[in-house]
Symmetry: D4
Subunit: 253 residues, 8 copies
Amino acid sequence: MNAEQLRRLLKKVKSGSLGVEEALDQLRFLPYEDIGFAKLDHHRSLRKGFPEVVLCLGKTVEQVAGIIEHLLPVTGTILATKADPEIFAAVRELAPEARYYQLANLIVIGGQVATSRGEFILVVTAGTADIPVAEEAAITAEAMGNRVERLYDVGVAGLHRLLDHKRELFKANVIIAVAGMEGALASIVSGMVDKPVIAVPTSVGYGASFQGLAALLGMLNTCAPGVAVVNIDNGFGAGYLASIINRRRKRGR
Amino acid sequence: MNAEQLRRLLKKVKSGSLGVEEALDQLRFLPYEDIGFAKLDHHRSLRKGFPEVVLCLGKTVEQVAGIIEHLLPVTGTILATKADPEIFAAVRELAPEARYYQLANLIVIGGQVATSRGEFILVVTAGTADIPVAEEAAITAEAMGNRVERLYDVGVAGLHRLLDHKRELFKANVIIAVAGMEGALASIVSGMVDKPVIAVPTSVGYGASFQGLAALLGMLNTCAPGVAVVNIDNGFGAGYLASIINRRRKRGR
Amino acid sequence: MNAEQLRRLLKKVKSGSLGVEEALDQLRFLPYEDIGFAKLDHHRSLRKGFPEVVLCLGKTVEQVAGIIEHLLPVTGTILATKADPEIFAAVRELAPEARYYQLANLIVIGGQVATSRGEFILVVTAGTADIPVAEEAAITAEAMGNRVERLYDVGVAGLHRLLDHKRELFKANVIIAVAGMEGALASIVSGMVDKPVIAVPTSVGYGASFQGLAALLGMLNTCAPGVAVVNIDNGFGAGYLASIINRRRKRGR
Amino acid sequence: MNAEQLRRLLKKVKSGSLGVEEALDQLRFLPYEDIGFAKLDHHRSLRKGFPEVVLCLGKTVEQVAGIIEHLLPVTGTILATKADPEIFAAVRELAPEARYYQLANLIVIGGQVATSRGEFILVVTAGTADIPVAEEAAITAEAMGNRVERLYDVGVAGLHRLLDHKRELFKANVIIAVAGMEGALASIVSGMVDKPVIAVPTSVGYGASFQGLAALLGMLNTCAPGVAVVNIDNGFGAGYLASIINRRRKRGR
Amino acid sequence: MNAEQLRRLLKKVKSGSLGVEEALDQLRFLPYEDIGFAKLDHHRSLRKGFPEVVLCLGKTVEQVAGIIEHLLPVTGTILATKADPEIFAAVRELAPEARYYQLANLIVIGGQVATSRGEFILVVTAGTADIPVAEEAAITAEAMGNRVERLYDVGVAGLHRLLDHKRELFKANVIIAVAGMEGALASIVSGMVDKPVIAVPTSVGYGASFQGLAALLGMLNTCAPGVAVVNIDNGFGAGYLASIINRRRKRGR
Amino acid sequence: MNAEQLRRLLKKVKSGSLGVEEALDQLRFLPYEDIGFAKLDHHRSLRKGFPEVVLCLGKTVEQVAGIIEHLLPVTGTILATKADPEIFAAVRELAPEARYYQLANLIVIGGQVATSRGEFILVVTAGTADIPVAEEAAITAEAMGNRVERLYDVGVAGLHRLLDHKRELFKANVIIAVAGMEGALASIVSGMVDKPVIAVPTSVGYGASFQGLAALLGMLNTCAPGVAVVNIDNGFGAGYLASIINRRRKRGR
Amino acid sequence: MNAEQLRRLLKKVKSGSLGVEEALDQLRFLPYEDIGFAKLDHHRSLRKGFPEVVLCLGKTVEQVAGIIEHLLPVTGTILATKADPEIFAAVRELAPEARYYQLANLIVIGGQVATSRGEFILVVTAGTADIPVAEEAAITAEAMGNRVERLYDVGVAGLHRLLDHKRELFKANVIIAVAGMEGALASIVSGMVDKPVIAVPTSVGYGASFQGLAALLGMLNTCAPGVAVVNIDNGFGAGYLASIINRRRKRGR
Amino acid sequence: MNAEQLRRLLKKVKSGSLGVEEALDQLRFLPYEDIGFAKLDHHRSLRKGFPEVVLCLGKTVEQVAGIIEHLLPVTGTILATKADPEIFAAVRELAPEARYYQLANLIVIGGQVATSRGEFILVVTAGTADIPVAEEAAITAEAMGNRVERLYDVGVAGLHRLLDHKRELFKANVIIAVAGMEGALASIVSGMVDKPVIAVPTSVGYGASFQGLAALLGMLNTCAPGVAVVNIDNGFGAGYLASIINRRRKRGR
């Protein structure tokens, strides 16, 4: 929505031909920028409360760079997920302040300041191999301004490691449970707490894990209510969802 | 946790042999009642913020009746899901005040009073055939004390029906999107709002819907972040999850 | 292997034309009875330590009755699994002493005397709806002469119910964990003990449980070693396997 | 069908031993050229309205080159799909005028002149990563003489980008909707227009997209009628189908 | 969109506050009727060229009747698919002129007059058991005003039956190929003609047909370009798609 | 191909306008009878060596009866597979000599005389529950004029039952191995003999047998070469295939 | 079975302590050579009519070489399937006369002399990309002493290419149909002939071919009886099976 | 559980505020070491009878090295499974005595001394390609102090190789059956013996083996009772399970 468009819309409101509420709704939907191979949704921040995020999977290095080049002047926060080092090299050319979290394959430019106080999101993993996905979730949530705590490698093979951290579980506002193999962690955690548990199945495992299918099905069939499932390896989605749930409360206070 | 057990625990706290925090943790975990074919988790209300719910699937009429008979003296709210009329007949013998929502296969005894004010949960369906699952979600959330609004049959075949209700979408605190077939509703809704969208795939459809698999996969792969998926036809789980998310905000205010 | 056959074999041994070891091997393999639509493996008891078991699935009432009629004079113990009441009616005609465990769809004739002392097999279930499969396992093991203890409805939605019975878990010689839905019980139990855990996925659940597939995959991918998986709803197989593992120890003492 | 064969056939017609209609039918079926590892269907152009297309997948470079070498003297248009640069290098040796569309892995030799007037095919994609498949469709349709318009990256995460181009959707004669992940674009588009929508699922995505299965199932289960689905990543098939539908109309006018 | 709404819109156009094009767009999107459990898309006829169709699957008899009761005064043509006799009984109460095609489980009220001249749609089946789905397609297309020809039981087990009807294949404007089991019919037909072939997999078959999956996959993987696939058993979708393709041409002439 | 058609064809041959070989080819392809809902392939007997077989699945009683009514005057042998008693009742009206093999759901009218001498086909099953499918195979082969021997219930749980019949295995000309559950019988048998083994997976089993998928995959992956697999429960297909293989040899001698 | 063992067996026969038939049976089962990581089944040639074949998949180069080193002195024919060039290099060290068919990944040492007369096996493919699997089948059959004819690239996209070779189809004794994608070739061919058709699905294709699953299911569900299916890409298995079927006839004459 | 924690616990016991049994239970659950990316379960040895095992899959070289560095001072036995040579290089830096079994991708440090006397575990494989998984099982069991015997390449294609070793099968205390492709070995072996058979499906095979799915399903559906199944390629799990079963017996004596 460029200036000209905006001007016309406001004139309509002024003249009374467009109601305030209708104008608001139009504003929620209109603006994006067409760069040929992509239509940048500059207005997403207004509508969704967070700017558009770049999923690098299946895009060429040039496309990712082109998208970020056009996003940079418009938004304070850019996330690029599933990004390999080659993509990061191209992004750093454009934005020297870009940070690369290699384990999580995540690029962050700007982002809100993570706080260490107040309601927090707890990210737990069943094992060490689940950490890349967990970090994708944690860093996403931090870039969205949340306090995040981590509790890694507390899977059900040694349940006492989890029970030993009951207090963190009880204190968290939202919990993200990241697990591959049989994915039982989500059920265990959700059975213990009264808050939303976002379950992220990972492709960690082999054989009949079928690249995360076993964990996914397990989490969908949890006998403990209160579990929300996202796609296999979708750490970003979990961090985003946790953030908008957590924000509810913080804004409320 | 009967009186005797409680007395002993409190004596320990008094004598100082048990710290206050430790006692709290024990209280969160201990009490249940063993009736042979079931172990009733009377303490779930304290731990999870809502009493144990009876999933009738695979249980005999006698088992369901036996469980409810033991829950009745202890809890103010009982939900029994996937309940057929025969089960309801047996339950009404025990609790004449029980209400049966036949479309949703749901029995409710007691429950909190649904309010018509404040933050609300919006339940939307793609079609008319998705209503049974949607009602399971809506009634569950109402029984947990939430205000619930319904918006049915606004699937993507006639998108204007949904766009016409943008305002309800913008006002809701949490949205439950119920859809079978291709399940696109969840993506559409989530692309428009900045709040959590709980996606419930239904088994509505035929052929390559594979009893809800198509909708489930579609919802897990949504390109619009902020979507939490539950099991196919799991209206109860969606209503429960929406409720604990909604509660966050309400408590906050 | 009828008397005539046996006589010839023994003559060979006596005459030295057949070694003792070779004769033994032949004895392990030979005898069965051909009744047209079935070849009754009368010798299985010698070879496997337990007589042939009749899986009723897919057999006509007449076929089951015919098989049992021929087994009755030969063996002291007959098990018929997945048997419906119509089959039992026919069996009772032949063997008035036959016992029918309706919940488990199991017919037992004879069988060893279950003992209440010594090493025991513990059968645990996640929920009430898993009990039919659990009973199939438990009764099978009892008919094979084992002491069996039951611990039902201790699934992960209320973990304290399980933790409260740690002592039974620690004391058992073999554990059978029966669970549908996400099947996490097997992992939890196996993570706590140093003995074999036989995991039985059940078809309890709906939607993405896919008739037990979710539980099956979960159990196969357990992160806690020491878990043996059998087919979905295969209570008999679990009871049988537990019995031959338990027997090892008992014979040893 | 070489000259000799043709001569004989025509003689029969002339002599009356073969009716005109029968001769026509034979002409539709007969001619091809056998080069050992392939039988080139030189007559396909007559029968199908477009010459044989070379799917490079699973063929050696030598085989593709051999096929094209024999097609060159016979046909004015050659398409080779799923072609990697090594194959193109070999083809360029034979036909210096060959054009390589690297993003689409497509080689075109000759082809009809794409027009910029008249009825057009609109190719829309949900995201940037779907462009390679979309280009395969678009270039195929152009090589078959159609006017093609492109509308890329208008997926449902930012629905206003699509709604903003309603006019193009309304004006197109046929629409090709290319989408991975949940594939909802096809349903949305088809719900808005009264023309055929050809849905192309792509393998873009990860985890539970299962290499395009989620998009495929979603598109097959669309609740908006008027959707035709082709294989995952089959841009060529979509372009071809759109072309023969579009041709209907153009011929009609 | 009732009269009042229309009047206001037209006033805006007259006053110049709304452009003609914008008004058109709004007209395409606005009107529907809310009857609680359904939102009737009365405007679909304008937008899609055919009124809303009622898929009876998963709806109660009362819901279907309620929907049709509200559609009757507004539209000249009503189709109800996957309708059983009980539903038809209720519909006939409301609309005595309703026709029930039992083999196809299809109810038609009104509908355009099928013509016997001009461009036609050819519906072919592989076997006799595919006829119900084929009739759903054929009657749908007829109700949409198309001339339809039928060619049943010409599957590849006796290819000469199909080859014997080459002339019908060559003359048709659009072909619908309906087949279960291996679904090869679609490939064969498409290899012979230069027009769109709409492939409908059916659930006819057993064993590894997996309720139509085999036919579906076969049709998606056809080596003959020009094939559009719809959902398993989706005769209605095929008839609808064929109709909007066929209409192109007829309007053109 | 009626008399008139034949006459014309022969005249052409006589006049020399049609070569002998071409006439033969036409004879292989032409004749069928169109009865509306079916096109009866009366010529199949000539082309395939056996008349058309009626698969009753998905056909109405009236359709099956209509087909058989038209086949009766033309062919000496009619097979109708997957036929239930209601269908048989209708068929017996038309053909009192029809025989019904209820276990195999097979109707036979006429058929060749099974011989008890010469090369034979051996049908083996793993269990009693596999007999219906085995009988479908055996009776089909007998109706096609083969000598058939049966060896039932020799599955791998009691291998000695099979090893005890090695001589039959060695003597048979073709073997059909019918097995559900894990389907290992086919591998075992094929590892012992030097003749074709036709493997028929059955849907016998439960849980992870997935209606015969386990047996099907097992048989396809056999490590013993010489195994031909047919569809799950396709006894007819196995009997037919065995017959045309067996015929090879018999003709040879 | 070394000389010593043989001597003892023969002595028994001579002394009458072992019947001739029993001795024969023992000879069929006994001899193999244990080389640690493999037990070479030297006797397979006697039992199966063809020596053991080496499947290289999953074996190290050293293991394959070791096996072939031990087979060389014992057998006149060695086949090694799925062999890459590195393996061939090692084999040629041991057997300079070894031939490598790179397209088919097949190594042949010795083998019978393929004849160009008499009954032949016809190998047909749908496309050029199916040739590697077809060659594996053809060369296997030739190495087993059969006359083999090839007919490649006659898939259903250009059916006249196949119909043009009807005579070859009619003359062949056994047909091997090799096809990927939808695999319709097998049904077409089998519908035309009265001889066994061995169907080999290949992994040629992409997207919803799911690595050959589509072709496999299509072939299993063929509506034309007389089709035997082997594993995806199992050219060897098809060639072997065709050979033992073909041998029947040839021996017979 | 460090010294300080232990001291406090013991003081409680001494003072009587903690019973002996309760103290024992706490000891079973408490101690682990938190190194950030992992929580080392130092106490597993006490609880499970064997120290924590490192599954290298999905872990970086640094993470594996870090874990082993912390385990080294605490435990006498370390196993690292699915370890590639690069990981071994890093481990050898820390523990020069580490042994690498390359075929099995297994690192062992310390471990109990395998004995050559007493009850033994027998590891059998169907083929040579199954040996890597079998060795993972065998070496694991040896490192846990068991006597292990190996019997490789005795699959059902040459059954006499297995029957020739009946005596080993009869003598073993526990049997591990490792097989890919159709996985029939487990059923055959279990049908012959009266002891637990642990079935390990492997991913050996191609086409419709679907990376071990065929073998997995086959083993789960075995018709011979007494089979315990573990995950595809899970040699470690099988070795571990066999060891705790074997230990039962040994302790018993």
